[in-house]
């Protein structure tokens, strides 16, 4: 009897140890994806490329990047992120590609070189708001994006308004737009696009547009487009565009089983592009209303089309007795310039129309020189 008890106790200890070991080896969730990043550059339409010098072109040198990311929620529900930089060094001391791996966990961020030697180690701050214990609910939904797109438009609008943002739903685009002085958020419920744009007192700063896709029951990332503003010589602004393609996306559960197993078979490497510079139109905050300038005017007037009407719109100019004196239309334009020099002096209403949406503004035509 004693021997049996001993045997039972021994086996129990072994089984418990194995289970504990097994459990300890399995994080609660692992999200793994590989991305390929490309970079494009643009200067404003108004700038002549001849104004750039060779050092400016150097600002546009870029190397495409392949990064493998593993987001691991460990058994304590703390996130660990392992980023592996897949670009091989071109030569022995290629410092641009010196880092092979970056591992951030609840204690530190450690960088390794391609020989797995530690390059640097930085402790994680105790009050780090990101490297913190997640709730069970957060763990459950981590890596999936269904909840952002399955709410009804009115619920989303309500949520944004509770956040103190001005918000509208545009049914023709299936898009909710929310904004305040600094940030603009756009959620396209049809195409699963989530965009954030930030503005400072100097104007546009950066934007992050995430494109998602349906994969089985889950909504997962497909692509990301990031725009960053910078300046060249003589304060010429330029935009660096980073296009990140998700080449795969895997989510495994606590038992190591795949919940999502996505491979992007459509993506093909872009041909060698060199430096390409494209023009861009000024990135302004989206506006729900039509704006005109200058006002009063004697000859030309610039009309800023409300963003929600920019795909196709009709412009009508009415005089003070509501007679249509001018009309035109446009496609995919954010601004339009109209010559009103032949108009009689007086008050006019400029109306912009797209389907059932309309927006209008008053214009004063004054042939005499402005007193200013």
């Amino acid at each position: 009897m004693k021997t049996q008890l001993k045997r039972f106790f021994g086996i129990s200890v072994i089984l418990f140890s194995i289970l504990t070991y097994q459990y300890a080896q399995h994080p609660q969730k692992v999200i793994t994806y590989t991305t390929h990043s490309q970079y494009f550059f643009s200067i404003p339409f108004s700038e002549n490329i001849k104004n750039l010098n060779d050092l400016d072109y150097n600002k546009m040198l870029s190397k495409e990047k392949d990064i493998k990311t593993e987001l691991i929620i460990d058994e304590d529900r703390f996130p660990t992120i392992i980023q592996t930089f897949l670009n091989q060094p071109e030569y022995a001391t290629d410092y641009e590609n010196a880092v092979y791996q970056s591992i951030t966990n609840k204690t530190e961020t450690v960088l390794y070189d391609h020989q797995q030697q530690v390059i640097s180690s930085n402790p994680t701050a105790d009050d780090d708001p990101v490297i913190k214990r997640l709730t069970d609910e957060e763990v459950r939904f981590f890596g999936f994006f269904n909840q952002s797109f399955t709410l009804s438009p009115s619920e989303i609008v309500q949520n944004f308004r509770m956040m103190g943002l001005t918000c509208r739903y545009f049914a023709n685009r299936s898009t909710v737009i929310a904004m305040n002085n600094d940030v603009e958020i756009s959620v396209n419920l049809l195409d699963f696009i989530y965009e954030i744009r930030y503005f400072s007192s100097q104007g546009f700063e950066w934007s992050k547009t995430n494109y998602y896709q349906k994969w089985g029951d889950y909504i997962i990332p497909k692509m990301e487009v990031n725009l960053y503003k910078d300046t060249l010589t003589n304060q010429i602004p330029f935009i660096k565009t980073e296009i990140i393609h998700y080449l795969n996306y895997f989510v495994t559960d606590q038992d190591g089983n795949y919940i999502v197993e996505y491979q992007n078979k459509e993506w093909k490497p872009f041909p060698e592009k060199g430096i390409q510079i494209q023009p861009y139109e000024e990135i302004n905050k989206r506006d729900f209303e039509i704006h005109i300038s200058p006002n009063p005017t004697s000859d030309k007037v610039r009309i800023d089309i409300p963003f929600c009407m920019q795909d196709h719109f009709l412009i009508g100019i009415y005089n003070s007795v509501s007679q249509l004196v001018y009309s035109t239309s446009g496609l995919e334009q954010s601004t339009m310039e109209i010559d009103v020099s032949t108009f009689k002096d007086g008050l006019y209403i400029i109306q912009c129309q797209n389907g059932t949406m309309t927006s209008s503004a008053k214009l004063i035509k004054n042939s005499t020189d402005s007193p200013y």
């Binding site: 600002k59 040198l61 001391t93 880092v99 960088l111 640097s120 999936f144 909840q147 060199g274 494209q278």
Partner: protein, 516 residues
């Protein structure tokens, strides 16, 4: 009476020399017109009338470059005569060396510097002839960088009809340029870009630290951040940096800008027969492109003569001890913030709408904060990443060509991806895209030229009328050869090998020097 004796001695000496080279007779009268070109008559009294003897000893004049002095060639020149240095594989020769300096001011030109050097050579040649029993016209001039151009200017001067060549001759027989911008130096044309690069560096490298240091950030914000940054960077770029690079603005450098008229005049010397037959060649080095700025800077900051003779070989010290650790501190910060952005990106959307709206907004602003910090540090990383390209651009080793092309923005596609950008129209049609927008695009390509970190090889090797091919040892010729940068070449193993081969006679008998 004493004066008459001296005059007789002097005339005899001229006559003796005239017997040697009759082509110089016509200059004798002119020499009398310019007695200052010779040493003082009082010294003559101490000199016995020399008999020309084809001594095995030769003189080498080592002429320094921009910002240098007599010590610029110290180690290499000493190695040429001092057998006590016991340099393995390199033999001291039967030579005397001189390291002439030239009067240096912001007004100095190549011509005026060449005139200074010529006077010193003529004085020395007189001493060599009368006192040292050497053939002054067998002397070799070796000039580094600008020093090579001063030699060309000197030679050009002596080729002119009014050159006043002394009876003893020019005082040299041939010359060697080392890393000289024989067809001009683009760095001089682009010197204002050095300030631009510095201003850019200042701006880019300040951004990361200032965003992550709350105290600095707050102070700068109160003071008007952009204004402070700009003022600090202007001070560095416009006031401090030019102190270090002030020599690049000296008048003398205008004479060797690419396209300078002086260079063209030197090139035309090939029309003189006496120039054609004068032994001469160009030695130049090539620095591999890898971290070229930092490796060149290594021996700009550190005097190559601080190394043992021909020992200025390792050019990685500055990079390894200063640049790489700094770069990695920027990279570390980028990685720290990138990891947080990735975690937020993976969580923020799922948190919406589970978190209270206030927290969602807080998460968004946290993300903005991290992205701004990541960008700020990345700006520094980007600067490091393009620093070598910037330097190549400034020295003319990287040149851009812009071509106009068209790209197509294909939208609302029903096959495959909903939108994409294509360099041709066909994929838009194949994918049944309902909207296609042509985007005018400037495609910028570049060419790269081999260089030594300051001067491109094409310029440093192109010595018109050179009697020998330009001398360069490629990486494959020497085991472990790690390139030879502009400053390093004055005292590295590459120069050792070049001098050895030269003095052994591999590049003509004129340059062959007897071992001690």
């Amino acid at each position: 009476m004493k004066k008459i004796v001296l005059l007789i001695i002097y005339m005899i000496s001229l006559w003796v020399h005239a017997q040697i080279d009759t082509s110089l007779v016509k200059h004798i009268v002119k020499v009398d017109d310019h007695p200052s070109q010779f040493i003082s008559p009082s010294l003559l009294s101490a000199i016995e009338t020399p008999q020309f003897n084809d001594s095995t000893f030769r003189r080498i004049y080592f002429i320094h470059g921009l910002g240098g002095d007599a010590s610029s060639w110290q180690q290499a020149s000493d190695a040429c005569w001092d057998q006590t240095l016991n340099i393995s594989g390199f033999f001291a020769r039967n030579v005397e060396i001189s390291r002439p300096e030239y009067i240096y001011s912001t007004l100095t030109t190549l011509n005026s510097a060449a005139y200074d050097v010529r006077q010193q050579i003529r004085n020395q040649s007189f001493i060599d002839y009368y006192q040292n029993n050497m053939n002054p016209n067998a002397a070799i001039m070796i000039g580094h960088s600008q020093g090579g151009l001063i030699i060309r200017s000197l030679v050009h001067m002596d080729l002119q009809p009014n050159a006043n060549i002394p009876a003893l001759g020019k005082g040299y027989g041939g010359f060697i340029t080392v890393a000289s911008p024989l067809q001009g130096a683009q760095i001089i044309n682009n010197r204002s870009q050095i300030e631009q690069m510095a201003h850019d560096a200042c701006n880019c490298l300040l951004k990361g630290p200032e965003t992550s240091n709350i105290a600095i950030h707050t102070i700068l914000k109160i003071m008007g951040k952009d204004q402070v940054n700009d003022n600090v960077c202007n001070l560095i770029a416009s006031n401090i940096l030019p102190l270090f690079f002030s020599q690049y603005y000296d008048n003398i450098t205008n004479d060797y800008k690419v396209g300078a008229s002086a260079i063209q005049q030197f090139n035309n010397d090939v029309n003189f027969t006496s120039y054609q037959t004068m032994p001469k060649l160009a030695i130049y080095g090539i620095e591999p492109r890898e971290n070229i700025l930092w490796r060149t800077a290594n021996w700009l900051i550190k005097n190559p003569n601080s190394a043992p003779p021909f020992g200025a070989n390792d050019d990685w010290e500055f990079f390894n001890t200063t640049i790489y650790p700094t770069y990695m501190s920027y990279v570390s910060n980028v990685c720290i913030y990138r990891s947080r952005v990735e975690i937020l990106a993976g969580s923020q959307y799922i948190l919406f709408p589970f978190l209270t709206p206030g927290m969602h907004l807080a998460t968004l602003f946290l993300m903005n904060d991290y992205i701004n910090k990541m960008r700020a540090w990345q700006t520094g990383v980007d600067w490091f990443n393009r620093a070598n390209a910037n330097w190549e651009t400034i020295i003319g080793a990287r040149q851009y060509v812009v071509n106009q092309t068209t790209y197509y923005y294909c939208r609302k596609c029903t096959i495959g991806q909903s939108w994409f950008i294509s360099p041709t129209l066909q994929p838009c049609l194949d994918c049944n895209c309902r909207e296609v927008r042509a985007i005018p695009t400037q495609t910028v390509t570049y060419t790269l030229a081999a260089n030594d970190g300051i001067v491109i090889a094409e310029s440093a090797s192109n010595l018109p009328g050179a009697t020998h091919c330009p001398l360069r040892i490629s990486c494959s010729d020497v085991s472990g050869y790690d390139g030879s940068s502009h400053m390093q070449i004055r005292n590295d193993s590459y120069l050792e090998r070049s001098f050895h081969n030269l003095f052994e006679g591999e590049y003509g008998m004129f340059f062959k020097l007897k071992r001690k």
